[in-house]
Symmetry: C2
Subunit: 245 residues, 2 copies
């Protein structure tokens, strides 16, 4: 029995999203744990729930209302990356900050869980599920980064972003020297790149030629790219930084 109740308090059993939200498969014992760690928060239409990069001290479910997940390029172009309807989940376990702008577009009520106890519920064996969850969330972040590229970037920015992403994936375990020349081994044909970026292969070819003409990249054969100055390439991506660096 709760000692104090705010006007938004609600027993899980009476919750309108009980059968669809993250708690929908929980049995009585788990539900009791959640009941203890939960609290409600409300936001007015138009309010920002979190900016990208902000600390997000909770995770939780949308109980009522609609919110959006979005990201903004340095010059102000924005792309919506998700629509959060009742029962959808907000936040990511084990990550302290929000990767996205979260905005309430109608009045919104959230059922929030304090991060730490919620995470503790996830780390019990079998660990395979825990790891699969983590990997799926990484995939989701990658897909959303990709959405921003597909929706809002120019052909040149798309090419620069792709080169940057591949460069950093290859160099993941090397010393991260941003001022040293970098060699990128392209595993993709021009056509595969065009498929990746939502362009035609001719446009891909033209943009690569243009970057070469301007000395931002050098080609060694068709499948190797040398970047003499990674900062100059980064300046062509349209983003201040690539998120998963």
């Amino acid at each position: 029995m709760a000692i104090k109740k705010s006007k938004f308090d609600l027993q899980c059993a009476d919750c309108p999203i009980r059968h669809r939200a993250v708690c929908s498969k929980c049995e009585a014992d788990e539900l009791a744990l959640l009941e203890d760690m939960k609290f409600y928060r409300t936001f007015e239409a138009g309010q920002t729930i979190a900016w990208a990069g902000d600390d997000l001290t909770f995770v939780g479910s949308v109980v009522r209302g609609v919110a959006t997940l979005g990201q903004t390029l340095e010059d102000g172009r924005t792309q919506m990356l998700g629509l959060l309807l009742p029962s959808d989940f907000i936040g990511r376990p084990w990550r302290k900050t929000s990767a996205y702008d979260v905005c309430a577009i109608t009045d919104v009520t959230l059922c929030c869980f304090r991060r730490k106890p919620f995470e503790d519920m996830l780390v019990r064996p079998p660990h395979i599920g825990e790891r699969l969850l983590e990997m799926t969330m990484d995939e989701l972040d990658a897909a959303r980064e990709w959405m921003l590229i597909l929706g809002r970037k120019t052909a040149r920015e798309k090419i620069a972003s792709l080169l940057t992403i591949i460069a950093h994936r290859e160099q993941a375990h090397d010393v991260p020297k941003i001022n040293a020349p970098v060699t990128i081994d392209l595993p993709l044909t021009r056509e595969a790149m065009s498929d990746y970026l939502g362009l035609t292969l001719e446009t891909v070819s033209r943009q690569i030629s243009a970057l070469k003409r301007e000395g931002i990249i050098l080609l060694e054969g068709k499948r190797k790219v040398v970047v003499p100055d990674m900062a100059r390439l980064l300046a062509q991506t349209g983003s201040d930084a690539i998120s998963h660096l």
Copy 2:
């Protein structure tokens, strides 16, 4: 001790992706279970591992090589939706068919798990993790559907796709009559729609006006859309069907 070994057999302890793949957090007992249900398969460069809609009798990890995840529109336009590198996971628990085209772009070795025993490892309590995994995978599917829209569809197709998606989300629990008139309550402004679809708000407005002129939709106020014949709207989406119907 395994009774028979193929040339691809490998002890988990010696596996090159042991520390990054889905099994990376497993302890000895879980690893022993996986060892029992796993088998290796190889694919040559260029081979298709699965077409969208095919039965996929396993889930598993990429051990070696690079594969792509993609989808194709009815007229042949394609969009890549994911790049699968060593340690990445293929397939989705509890789903029998592949939602995407999976292609090997280099020679690929997969460590496959039989679906059923793998799923059984995921369904133990706490169920909150299980449900969160399921929801995250739904989000990932939605993000990838969105990627196809952003990367390869025209403005008109984007609008038609958005209306279709919202219509079916709203009617999720109603009778799925495809021939009856449908009313869609748009929760989004023109600007929000443009953010969603990677368009400008002017283009959104023009396309909606065009669809109205042609009688494919009717407007009731600015925020309500009536679709007299859903089949005609579907014909404008560029897809044979919207996947999550």
